[in-house]
């Protein structure tokens, strides 16, 4: 399981009700179910991935986060997780609002466009950056609204969303982000993980 999921799992206490938005083949769900005794649900757009989750005995609803989060009542989950997909929505702000409506807390991870490799790629090659967390070409990427850790940090603050914890990930190393080290973390982390609440 990728390090990102381990870090996410560490943010979630045992026996909580969790919704994994864009749960894919359910790797994180299964981990949370087995290791955190989580009452876990998934929302997933791909029929094939939904089938994979069913085959693992996971409860998944086929649906689109932009349209189908509205079916969940306010604060009906302790945690709502959104891993590396916020930038792929037509309206990320709306999805973020929905995550915070449905979940008492939300865990959002974003691929960092401010990562030094991304900056170098654009600066020296002059083409759209391709990295481990941004593997697609400009013409076939699902990403519509790329942002940096700094962008997301400021955005969340401007919306009066409370940040409980923000973490910078680079391969296997994890470190805390605060307003003092934001510039450095924005350069050296390829992934940001935010535990937020509204």
């Amino acid at each position: 399981m990728k390090n990102e999921f381990k870090v996410i799992a560490d943010l979630i206490e045992i026996d909580k009700k969790v919704l994994d938005v864009g749960c894919a083949d359910g790797v994180l769900m299964k981990f949370l179910k087995n290791n955190k005794n989580a009452n876990i649900r998934g929302l997933e757009i791909s029929k094939e991935k939904v089938q994979e989750c069913i085959a693992k005995g996971l409860t998944v609803i086929e649906g689109n986060a932009e349209k189908d989060l509205k079916q969940f009542p306010d604060k009906s989950f302790d945690y709502v997780v959104l891993s590396q997909t916020l930038q792929a929505f037509l309206n990320p702000e709306l999805v973020l609002d929905e995550l915070l409506r449905v979940g008492k807390k939300a865990i959002v991870t974003i691929p960092n466009f401010g990562y030094w490799k991304v900056r170098f790629h654009l600066l020296f090659k002059g083409t759209m950056p391709i990295t481990k967390t941004l593997p697609d070409e400009w013409y076939n990427t699902p990403n519509l609204h790329m942002c940096t850790i700094k962008d997301f940090f400021h955005f969340v603050k401007s919306k009066d969303i409370k940040i409980f914890k923000s973490l910078a990930l680079n391969n296997l190393s994890t470190s805390l982000i605060n307003s003092g080290n934001l510039g450095i973390k924005n350069l050296f982390a390829d992934l940001g993980i935010f535990l937020i609440e509204k």
Binding site: K47, V50, Q51, I54, A55, G57, T59, I61, Q71
Partner: protein, 376 residues
């Protein structure tokens, strides 16, 4: 045709108060079972049939000598694995395969009921079938499953008896019959009652029956079970055993011939009055109305695990109507999964060999069963 020896019946002695206000008692419910009930009696699945189905879910139907209606899904090693589960299915109240219905004798005057049979509802059907649990000594079912009208019974059953099933599988169904579906049912009923042989319901089943009307009803309904794409691919404008159009009103096109055949075989196995009664029950079905318009209240007490399945090409019970059930279940805080299966086979997809559907159904049941066993 000697049907009696193939049909198992349970006589329900306890009075059952129907939604129409009448009370029935000492009435038969015909049922069939597959597989065996384990000693703990916790492997039973109650399957509910659709409008024209019956208790003969799988194997050869002894009355029609054709495959049971859910042979693709139910049987040894199939999605609903009868090596593992004990499957029970009963003919619905109002039906014509042995359960109490309009072709039975009215005890008050010794005549055939016909349209004097009380109008029944989906709620009446499941309340009658609930007696099967007592009959088999089952405290809690492992699952309840059914498509179309079978799905309506699933929803009504778990609403009436929230702690009587571990898992709940409504397929290609609705919580409230739509205007379009009422319209199609009315078309079928009008076809039957317009047949002069219907005689206000007092036809003699062994003599002249309103076969033409019933066949038209079936033909119209059959179209609604398929998809435009499926029909086009299977039939297109292909001609029926002829080189060119005949400039007449015989079946020039294969689709015409196919529909006529579907109508004629249906008449041999189904009773016209039962068709009226069962379509009426579907039309009256509105689970939300039973809870003052709030569907989620129908599921508020259920700890069951729900799995809802719809099909992309089903325009009779479209995905949106199935999703409304999912939304209501989420509002009730229920454990609910949902998948829409890609299929060109229309509403009938749940009865046919649709591998993605059967795969999902099997995985859901088997994983839930394993989980249940691990928790014990």
């Amino acid at each position: 045709m000697n049907t009696e020896k193939h049909i198992k019946t349970l006589i329900i002695k306890k009075p059952l108060k129907l939604d129409c206000g009448k009370t029935i008692k000492n009435f038969p419910i015909a049922y069939e079972t597959y597989g065996s009930l384990n000693p703990k009696k916790d492997n039973a699945i109650l399957v509910f049939h659709a409008l024209t189905g019956d208790q003969f879910v799988t194997g050869i139907n002894p009355i029609t000598n054709k495959d049971g209606w859910w042979s693709y899904a139910v049987g040894p090693d199939k999605a609903i694995d009868t090596n593992k589960y004990f499957v029970i299915c009963s003919n619905v109240l109002g039906g014509c395969m042995g359960s109490y219905g309009p072709s039975h004798i009215d005890p008050s005057n010794q005549n055939i009921f016909g349209t004097n049979f009380p109008v029944i509802t989906i709620n009446d059907m499941v309340n009658a079938q609930y007696n099967l649990l007592d009959h088999f000594g089952i405290d809690k079912l492992f699952s309840i499953a059914g498509g179309s009208m079978g799905g309506m019974q699933v929803l009504q059953f778990i609403s009436n008896f929230p702690d009587k099933s571990e898992t709940v599988i409504p397929i290609a169904t609705t919580s409230s019959h739509s205007a379009q579906n009422i319209a199609f049912n009315e078309l079928g009923r009008q076809a039957i009652t317009a047949d002069s042989d219907w005689k206000n319901g007092n036809y003699d089943k062994n003599n002249t029956i309103p076969g033409k009307g019933l066949a038209v009803a079936r033909m119209a309904a059959h179209i609604t079970y398929l998809s435009k794409k499926g029909l086009q691919e299977k039939f297109g404008r292909k001609l029926q055993e002829r080189e060119d159009l005949k400039f007449g009103f015989d079946a020039d096109f294969q689709i015409e011939s196919y529909l006529r055949y579907q109508g004629s075989v249906f008449v041999e196995r189904f009773d016209a009055n039962s068709y009226l009664y069962i379509t009426r029950a579907m039309d009256y079905f509105d689970l939300a109305k039973q809870f003052k318009g709030n569907l989620s209240d129908a599921f508020i007490n259920s700890k069951a695990k729900f799995f809802i399945i719809s099909f992309t090409s089903d325009w009779l019970y479209p995905t949106q109507e199935n999703k409304e059930i999912v939304i209501a279940l989420n509002s009730a805080g229920a454990d609910v999964g949902f998948v829409e299966i890609k299929s060109d086979k229309g509403h009938d997809s749940f009865l046919l060999d649709v591998p993605d559907f059967l795969y999902a159904l099997k995985n859901f049941l088997d994983k839930s069963y394993t989980e249940k066993k691990n928790e014990e």
